[in-house]
């Protein structure tokens, strides 16, 4: 399926999803896996659910956590029994070759169960996410991350692989912009520091978002003025109380800290978070600030020229405003690029996309990317009615960082569920006779 159609599909379906109460119902999630409709079981590790749920919980609830854990335990136990019975059965019929299909089905079922366990584990941990704990504006904090998962959700069973494609198509420019910015800010490390050779500091969200520009290199506390920082430093030891340390620094701080300091993003699941398995530390406080705002915060600053592009870091907005309206490389699909080669790379990748020819007279007057000539517009509308700009931008904004909300594991598992089951098992409620359904599987197991 073409990703465009899928996208259109998604936008059409999405509102229903939101209103659908079953989606919001957390309890359905905690159903034991082998009871009831297997389709529901497979759908429930839905990230949307998790997030909604997460945003509902304002404070961490140890009882809920305990419930979850014991439930997981139960589930694992159940699964163990199931695998046991498979092994036992295999031993009994070891003489003859087992039908291949059955083995595969068994395997799929077990993996599905495992998957749901993993997802639940993560979601349990997700309850601990710092930003969920105290969100002044829950909606604004969650909306970008939700956006990330929407296509998948809306795409239903088969959406999984399309999402990444969509991301590519939509987000080339933004990604590119941000990457380059990251490099400028020194966020990209490029160095191979071994874990343990440096000290990891993790600031809390409030500290990151505090409008401070001067940070204590020891505790990370931020200050608006350098003088205040110097006063603060006195608390860290006598060496900061010397007149030299308290004086306005002329060149650089005299004493180098012994251990290299690196920073961790407080957002659980983020690649910049120290608990991530591929953790990439952030170099400076400024990097932390920019990273956190860009990836985990609402984009509050809208470009006044084009009213389209949104940013969470003011500097990014200013950079954009410098170029806004100029040098817009526009694809017929509505995606804009700041650089021609990026546009051409995009066009080479997607069939049927062509560069739009800007009208001379509208060039520069608005940043909004009106497709070139009228025929083009007609053509475009005929081809793909999906991209109204606001939505495209939302999507863009949200998927900057694929690791934004949850670990990639989450993504993978979801994809996996889609691929392995939505096609095979998800349909099984229709119970086509030839098809395997868990119900029959159970029967078969019990029968033997």
């Amino acid at each position: 399926m073409d990703h465009k159609d899928r996208f259109a599909n998604f936008s059409a379906q999405n509102p229903q999803k939101w209103e659908d109460p079953s989606v919001l119902d957390y309890s359905s999630r905690i159903e034991p896996p082998l009871q009831g409709n297997p389709g529901a079981q497979i759908k429930f590790p839905d990230p949307l659910n998790e997030l909604l749920q997460a945003s509902k919980i304002q404070d961490w609830d140890p009882t809920a956590m305990l419930n979850n854990l014991s439930f997981l335990e139960q589930k694992i136990h159940h699964l163990r029994g199931l695998v046991h019975s498979i092994v036992g059965r295999r031993d009994r019929v070891s003489g003859q070759a087992q039908p291949y299909g059955l083995v595969a089905q068994q395997q799929q079922l077990v993996t599905a169960d495992l998957t749901s366990i993993i997802v639940q584990l993560i979601s349990t941990a997700g309850g601990l996410l710092p930003y969920v704990k105290h969100t002044p504006s829950t909606q604004s904090a969650t909306s970008p991350s939700l956006g990330q998962f929407q296509p998948q959700n809306g795409g239903g069973g088969s959406g999984g692989s399309g999402v990444s494609e969509l991301q590519n198509s939509v987000d080339v420019s933004t990604n590119e912009e941000h990457e380059s910015k990251d490099e400028e800010d020194g966020e990209e490390l490029g160095e191979n520091l071994f874990p343990g050779t440096y000290e990891i500091l993790q600031l809390e969200k409030e500290e990151i978002l505090a409008p401070h520009t001067h940070f204590c290199t020891i505790c990370g506390k931020g200050f608006k003025r350098d003088a205040n920082l110097r006063m603060h430093m006195r608390g860290h030891g006598d060496e900061y109380k010397t007149p030299a340390a308290l004086a306005k620094p002329n060149k650089e701080s005299s004493s180098e800290p012994a251990l290299i300091k690196r920073y961790s993003c407080p957002f659980t699941g983020c690649k910049r978070n120290k608990d991530h398995k591929k953790f990439q530390p952030l170099k400076t406080i400024l990097c932390v600030k920019n990273h956190y705002k860009r990836t985990h915060c609402d984009k509050r600053y809208t470009c006044s020229r084009c009213n389209t592009k949104k940013f969470s870091v003011i500097a990014d907005l200013k950079t954009h405003e410098k170029h806004c309206g100029k040098d817009k490389w526009l694809c017929s699909c509505g995606t804009t690029f700041s650089r021609k080669d990026k546009l051409f790379g995009h066009i080479a990748l997607f069939q049927g996309h062509t560069p739009a020819i800007p009208l001379d007279d509208t060039k520069g007057s608005t940043g909004i990317c009106v497709p070139g000539d009228s025929s083009e517009a007609v053509n475009k509308v005929g081809n793909m009615d999906m991209f109204n700009f606001s939505s495209s931008v939302d999507v863009k904004g949200s998927i900057d960082d694929p690791a934004g909300c949850f670990s990639p594991l989450n993504f993978e598992t979801c994809n996996f569920v889609d691929n392995a089951h939505a096609t095979e098992l998800g349909e099984s409620s229709n119970a086509a006779p030839g098809n395997f359904s868990p119900a029959c599987y159970e029967k078969a197991l019990n029968g033997v």
């Binding site: 021609k340 051409f344 066009i347 080479a348 996309h353 062509t354 020819i357 000539d373 025929s375 083009e376």
Partner: protein
């Protein structure tokens, strides 16, 4: 038996037989005679005709009705094709019309030539591209104003296989991308002089149009990156890289490893290349048929020669401008037996001995370019004539040592010779022309600057070479009116004639020229004996005249120009610089000649600013290019200049 007798008429032949007869007729004039014979033949003509090249757009609607099976339409000779005209054509006789009787002319159209159709813009092109579902070939070369919008319009012709966009100066990567994405079946694409195209565009093209067999990116500022992309084209057979200043040997290394079917490559005038780059190409493509490396090598190195030796199938090699060691000819002669064309013009080291060795092996040569090989003499010509009996084209410009002896050999052995260039060969005399006239197939003869020939020599040619199409007598001061007399009675097929600076020619001579009905291109600069009378006889006689150069014919008066304005309705280009034309006559010429596309009008001492203004107003809707004195720039009204500009006319300020 009278009834039976009457049935044996040619008209009793069935339609298909008549069609077969018609198809045997190749030349346009024969076909014209055929269709003028009778109504039945005319009907056969209109049923069978597949190609149409028209001179006047106003007849097009009628003609489109007449020829329902048209596959190819050439509008390049029409002065004005505009969007409005196209929309009219499409609505009156096209798909929108209800006339079932004539069918739909766009339905079967496969080829469309719109070269120099500068009046057309993207909306017209788009209408055409959408209306012709079978369109396979489009030529919009030299439509200098064309750019991305026009390319986008063309991209609606999804079945396009061949596209020529030479000198569409506005075309950028964006337009090329439109075409690359829209016309995925493209097999042949020429982008000469589309200066805005860069590596990005070429790269995208190569990714999208994988069926490309022919690609010409000559004169573009593309780099090795483009060659890297081009190397991925698996079906590419011919690659034009002429005068690409930014490519070098590294780029050709990509070509060595790519393009497995490459048959022809043109790297002439590529400044960045050396013989090692060519060695890569030759090494990678042992089946190469054509190698054009003119003016890009300083020397034909032994290493390169060693590689070229392996090209057993090589048919064409051009290494103009290089230094060639004498031994090279031996090697080429011994190894490249299938050579048909050799170009060694302006090469240093081309000697009699070398050429003798060359032709001893390459006996199939048909085209040989020895321009400016000053050291060759009759001995070499004699060897060539003896070995290469199939020689069709021989260029000997500036080979001063050639005399009638050499021409005698050519006249004796090279009886298939069609084209010979003897410009600036002062050894050519009347006797030589007499020998040469034995080559009765001769169609193109260039004798410019041969001051030793006279009317007598020309009469030999006139009486024996009946097929002459093109004759260049530039500065042949020995030629006078009598020569033109014999010429006009002998060479009736003459189409192109250059008489510039033949000072002896007078009005009488031009009277003879007037008998050449096929003549369409006449250059007669600085004939200071001719007056309006002479010009009148030319204008009245040469009905097909399309290109006329009268520069410095200062004695021609208004009488002549009036005649020109009255008779020469097919005139397309005119040079009137330094003529004594008046305001009135200029106005008449420019206004009356409805096919006129280009005029050079500098130093017209009798024309006032008002005269220019009026003349330009009279022709502004169809003129495409005009040359004027720079001083006029601020004297002409802004209005007329704007009109000309809006109409796509290019003004060259001298």
């Amino acid at each position: 038996m009278p009834p039976f007798q009457s049935n044996k008429n040619i008209l009793s032949l069935t339609e298909d037989l008549l069609v077969r007869i018609y198809e045997i007729l190749v030349s346009e004039s024969d076909r014209k005679s055929f269709r003028l014979a009778c109504r039945e033949f005319l009907r056969i003509d209109s049923l069978t005709r597949k190609h149409l090249r028209i001179l006047r757009i106003e007849f097009l609607p009628v003609l489109l009705h007449k020829y329902p099976r048209l596959q190819s339409l050439d509008l390049s000779a029409c002065p004005r094709i505009e969007d409005g005209v196209v929309s009219l054509l499409l609505s009156q006789v096209g798909p929108a019309s209800n006339s079932l009787r004539f069918g739909n002319w766009t339905r079967g159209l496969k080829s469309l030539v719109l070269s120099r159709a500068t009046g057309l813009r993207f909306s017209g092109l788009e209408m055409l591209a959408r209306a012709c579902p079978c369109l396979e070939s489009v030529d919009v070369s030299y439509c200098c104003g064309f750019g991305d919008r026009e390319a986008a319009a063309l991209s609606f012709a999804v079945g396009l296989r061949e596209l020529n966009m030479d000198k569409c100066l506005g075309l950028t990567d964006v337009g090329l991308a439109k075409i690359a994405v829209g016309c995925l079946k493209l097999e042949k694409l020429s982008l000469k002089w589309c200066m805005e195209i860069t590596d990005l565009g070429v790269d995208l093209l190569c990714k999208k149009c994988v069926d490309l067999k022919f690609l010409d990116v000559s004169y573009l500022k593309v780099t090795n990156e483009s060659l890297h992309s081009i190397a991925s084209l698996l079906k590419l057979e011919a690659l034009g890289l002429m005068a690409c200043p930014l490519i070098d040997d590294v780029g050709l290394q990509f070509i060595e490893r790519g393009c497995p079917l490459l048959k022809a490559i043109d790297v002439s005038r590529c400044q960045g290349l050396s013989s090692s780059g060519l060695m890569f190409v030759v090494r990678g493509h042992g089946n190469l048929l054509e190698l054009n490396a003119g003016y890009c090598l300083s020397e034909l190195s032994t290493a390169l020669l060693h590689q070229i030796k392996n090209l057993k199938h090589l048919e064409v090699i051009r290494i103009d401008g290089a230094r060639i060691p004498e031994s090279s000819f031996q090697v080429i002669s011994a190894n490249c037996k299938s050579l048909v064309e050799i170009g060694v013009s302006k090469c240093v080291g081309v000697t009699n001995m070398g050429l003798m060795r060359l032709v001893s092996g390459c006996i199939n040569l048909r085209v040989l370019n020895l321009t400016c090989c000053h050291s060759i003499t009759d001995a070499a010509i004699s060897a060539i004539a003896n070995s290469c009996r199939n020689l069709v084209c021989l260029k000997l410009e500036s080979c001063n040592m050639i005399t009638e002896k050499g021409l005698c050999q050519l006249g004796s052995f090279c009886l298939l010779l069609e084209e010979i260039d003897l410009t600036d060969c002062c050894g050519v005399n009347d006797k030589g022309l007499e020998y040469l006239s034995r080559c009765s197939e001769l169609s193109c003869l260039k004798l410019g600057l041969c001051s030793n020939i006279s009317d007598k020599g020309l009469s030999y040619i006139s009486s024996n070479c009946k097929k002459i199409h093109e004759l260049d007598l530039y500065r042949c001061t020995g030629i006078g009116d009598d020569g033109l007399d014999s010429l006009s009675s002998g060479c009736k097929e003459l189409k192109k004639l250059n008489l510039s600076y033949c000072n002896e020619v007078s009005d009488r001579g031009l009277g003879y020229i007037g008998r050449l009905e096929e003549l369409c291109d006449l250059e007669m600069r600085a004939l200071n004996k001719i007056t309006g009378v002479g010009l009148e006889s030319v204008a009245a006689g040469c009905k097909r005249l399309a290109d006329l150069d009268l520069k410095h014919c200062e004695k021609v008066d208004d009488l002549g120009f009036w005649a020109l304005a009255y008779y020469s309705r097919n005139l397309r280009q005119i040079n009137l610089s330094y003529c004594a034309i008046s305001d009135m006559a200029l106005c008449l010429v420019m206004g009356n000649l409805t096919r006129l596309q280009e005029a050079k009008l500098v130093h017209l001492c009798n024309v006032t600013v008002e005269g220019f203004e009026l003349a330009l107003r009279a022709c502004c809707i169809r003129i495409k290019k005009v040359k004027l004195l720079a001083t006029l720039r601020f004297m002409l009204s802004a209005e007329i200049l704007e009109t000309l500009h809006a109409r796509g006319c290019i003004i060259r300020w001298d």
